[in-house]
């Protein structure tokens, strides 16, 4: 029987998982894998930094719902992947990372470019593998993809020593039966719990559906829409869940939490029933958890049992896939009448009227970021995948973009990784080549990973990147203004960078808008260019702050809705 190398087997195993693209950077220990990659159907996108490769894999996974793949060499290649792995773990993004390792005989000897990759990444992955036998490769790869994509999705890493990549093995497909006795994610919700939840929903007078990223991951948007329509329960979508319920729907209240809408925050505070689906009661949502939704009973649906009761003990815990449980809830609701909740809905309308999201764009004043977000939305008709970095611009994008579909919003929620936007946008554009991908990035974030635009230019990936140039770490200055006596320590970025030149130097088109009336034409020009990536620099107001705001750890009953204006919940 003819044999193939471990590297060839690894490629075959990836092909067997229908991998169409991998993002990576080569190096000594992984070179054996890069050779057969040339003959494979898998497209390789050469990132300029492994962190970029990791975020590209994440962006790909966010946009497509499929497992993203990244490749790095041993040592520094692998350590550069740690941030995207941790990011993917926090945000439940399914990716598989393959890293080269020094040869088995050198492992543990401080060999050149050796790092203890599986040790370093153990707490940053859902699971990881150190392969010591080439015969194991087909099963390991199959298991890795299964673990990454199922249950609560997450990152899985496979570390393969160079001699294992070079060793010969007899190809065999992965076993059809996975041997994972300790890994059996629950899919269906317990029917009795589902009934209990529906009883509560039928009797609640001020219910709120508090839904997040889990709904998107499970593909549960349709079921959610159906449930909201049948029950008439208003919906708030977390930062991770934006788009899983249409913002244009009359029951949509926008985002909850630290920079959420006054209505979503206050509706939760006043609710008597929270139906929490695919959310984890993150501290950015709850503020002080002891003061969060004080009079609400809680139904908590999550595929990860460790999330249930972690922060808030629910009256009705339901472990299961968000989509499946939402369908079960719809089924159990059946054709019940909606109870009369006119007062509640009226109350919500009043809050929406009294405290809408707002900003003040003066025609001859500096450009406001909120205005740029709204203009991009208007000009693209909202028909784009939007990617954000971390900071003020991220919050404004989440607040002011109207999301109507799932998988159109990509950001780093749990880890808050600056530098995420540019590579994640590239990954999304590779995964969804027919869709417009528009990143809205801060200047600080952009400076962390902007070199990946070289990747985009060389590979012909037509992303658009709006750089919100306020010359500061805006979110940092906001906190310094509010909580550190306006002492701006280490938050000024200066003004030496010419983003147009920088873009052009990397093979992209560069556009600049400095006044409000230049905003729309700049966006239109960016859309007209389709042979290169485009960077649009918007010179924006450095003084603007994100509101509403609940200071970290504060009570959600006290919302700062505008500078110096706090509204205490009635």
């Amino acid at each position: 029987m003819s044999t193939i190398s471990g590297a060839e087997a690894l490629i075959k195993a990836l092909e067997a998982e229908d991998v169409d693209v991998a993002f990576g950077v080569p190096g000594g220990a992984i070179l054996p894998l890069y050779d057969p990659l040339l003959d494979s159907s898998i497209r390789h996108v050469l990132a300029r930094h492994e962190q970029g490769a990791g975020h590209m894999a994440e962006g790909y996974a966010w946009a497509t719902g499929r497992v993203g793949v990244c490749i790095a060499t041993s040592g520094p290649g692998a350590t550069n992947l740690v941030t995207p792995l941790a990011d993917a773990l926090m945000d439940s993004v399914p990716i598989v990372a393959i890293t080269g390792q020094v040869p088995t005989w050198a492992v543990g000897n401080d060999a050149f470019q050796e790092a203890y990759t599986t040790g370093i990444t153990m707490p940053a992955t859902k699971h990881n593998y150190f392969v010591t036998n080439p015969d194991d490769l087909p099963d390991v790869v199959h298991e890795a993809f299964h673990i990454a994509a199922t249950g609560r999705p997450g990152p899985v890493l496979i570390d393969v020593p160079k001699d294992i990549l070079n060793a010969q093995m007899t190809w065999h497909s992965a076993a059809t039966e996975l041997d994972l006795p300790g890994y059996r994610p629950t899919v269906d919700g317990h029917p009795r719990r589902v009934k209990e939840a529906v009883e509560l929903m039928a009797n609640a007078r001020r219910p709120v559906l508090y839904v997040g990223g889990g709904v998107i991951k499970a593909g549960g948007s349709e079921a959610l829409l159906e449930l909201a329509n049948r029950t008439g329960i208003p919906v708030t979508t977390t930062l991770m869940g934006r788009g899983c319920f249409p913002d244009s729907h009359p029951l949509a209240m926008g985002m909850p939490g630290m920079h959420g809408t006054y209505t979503a925050i206050t509706a939760i505070q006043k609710s008597d029933l929270l139906i929490a689906v695919g959310v984890r009661f993150d501290d950015r949502v709850t503020g002080d958890p002891t003061k969060f939704a004080p009079s609400a009973q809680v139904v908590h649906v999550d595929v990860d049992p460790a999330e249930i009761g972690k922060v808030r003990t629910p009256e009705v815990p339901i472990v299961g896939d968000a989509r499946r449980v939402l369908e079960q809830l719809v089924e159990a609701w059946g054709s019940r009448q909606q109870p009369d909740r006119t007062d509640w809905i009226e109350q919500i309308r009043t809050w929406q009227r009294e405290h809408p999201l707002s900003y003040d764009q003066q025609p001859d004043g500096p450009i406001k970021q909120q205005y740029v977000v709204e203009e991009i939305h208007r000009i693209t008709g909202g028909d784009a995948i939007v990617v954000a970095g971390v900071g003020q611009h991220q919050m404004w994008t989440s607040q002011f973009w109207k999301f109507d579909d799932p998988r159109k919003w990509i950001n780093s929620g749990g880890l808050g990784t600056m530098g995420f936007a540019v590579p994640a946008a590239i990954g999304a554009a590779v995964g969804k080549p027919d869709e417009l991908v528009y990143a809205i990035d801060g200047d600080g974030c952009f400076q962390m990973t902007s070199q990946e635009l070289i990747t985009a230019a060389e590979e012909g990936i037509p992303v658009k990147i709006a750089v919100m140039n306020n010359s500061v770490y805006g979110m940092v200055t906001q906190w310094q203004r509010l909580f550190y006596n306006e002492r701006y320590s280490a938050s000024q970025l200066g003004s030496k960078v010419d983003y147009v030149m920088l873009a052009e130097a990397m093979g992209c088109a560069g556009i600049r808008a400095t006044t409000p009336d230049e905003v729309a034409p700049a966006i239109e020009r960016s859309l007209a260019i389709d042979d290169r990536p485009v960077v649009v620099e918007f010179v924006v107001d450095p003084e603007e702050m994100v509101f509403p705001m609940i200071p970290s750890g504060g009570s959600n009953d006290e919302v700062i809705v505008a500078p110096g204006k706090t509204v205490v919940a009635p």
């Binding site: 040790g119 153990m122 972690k310």
Partner: protein, 167 residues
């Protein structure tokens, strides 16, 4: 407060490190840890005694480890706990019989006798082993090694019983 966890895991490289690292992340001190084969092929049983105010969240986190199959928290009055100890006490010829007398009460056996010291082996309930050790201290404890604690749930009596014989 000390709590005892019985963790049923796949016998795979790294599984001990994964379990230990989860406990370390929460700052929980591992008081004792014993790992060995279990009643099932390819599976190991870990018995962990850990100092922690509560373990609910840690148990759930441990469950998330792909190689962890089952976790049980063992309550002292509903489980059997055993340790083994090897202890070397200073025992010049004139004091040997005294030491052996105490050893006899605790069913400890001398396993190595030298000129000036003696090594005793004792197995059993952790409390009993501690009592034994306290009685030996006045003689001068020169060296000591204890196994980690191992534990199994007791069979519940009467109607409560959920255990079934495995054939």
């Amino acid at each position: 407060m000390y709590r005892t966890l019985s963790v049923f895991v796949e016998d795979r490289p790294g599984v001990l490190a994964r379990v230990a690292s989860l406990l370390a992340r929460r700052g929980f001190n591992i008081r004792s840890l014993a790992v060995g084969p279990s009643h099932e092929e390819g599976m190991s049983k870990m018995t962990i005694v850990v100092e922690a105010p509560e373990l609910e969240q840690v148990k759930k986190q441990l469950h998330k480890l792909v190689n962890v199959v089952k976790i049980t928290e063992l309550e002292p009055d509903r489980s059997l706990e055993r340790e083994i100890m090897l202890v070397r006490v200073s025992a010049p010829p004139g004091r040997r019989s005294e030491v052996l007398e105490i050893a006899d009460i605790f069913k400890a056996t001398p396993v190595d006798v030298g000129h000036s010291s003696m090594c005793l082996q004792v197995a059993g309930d952790p409390g009993k082993i501690n009592d034994f050790l306290e009685l030996l201290r006045p003689f001068g404890v020169v060296d000591l090694a204890k196994s980690g604690r191992i534990a199994l749930a007791r069979e519940l009596k009467g109607k409560e019983s959920k255990l079934r014989a495995v054939n």
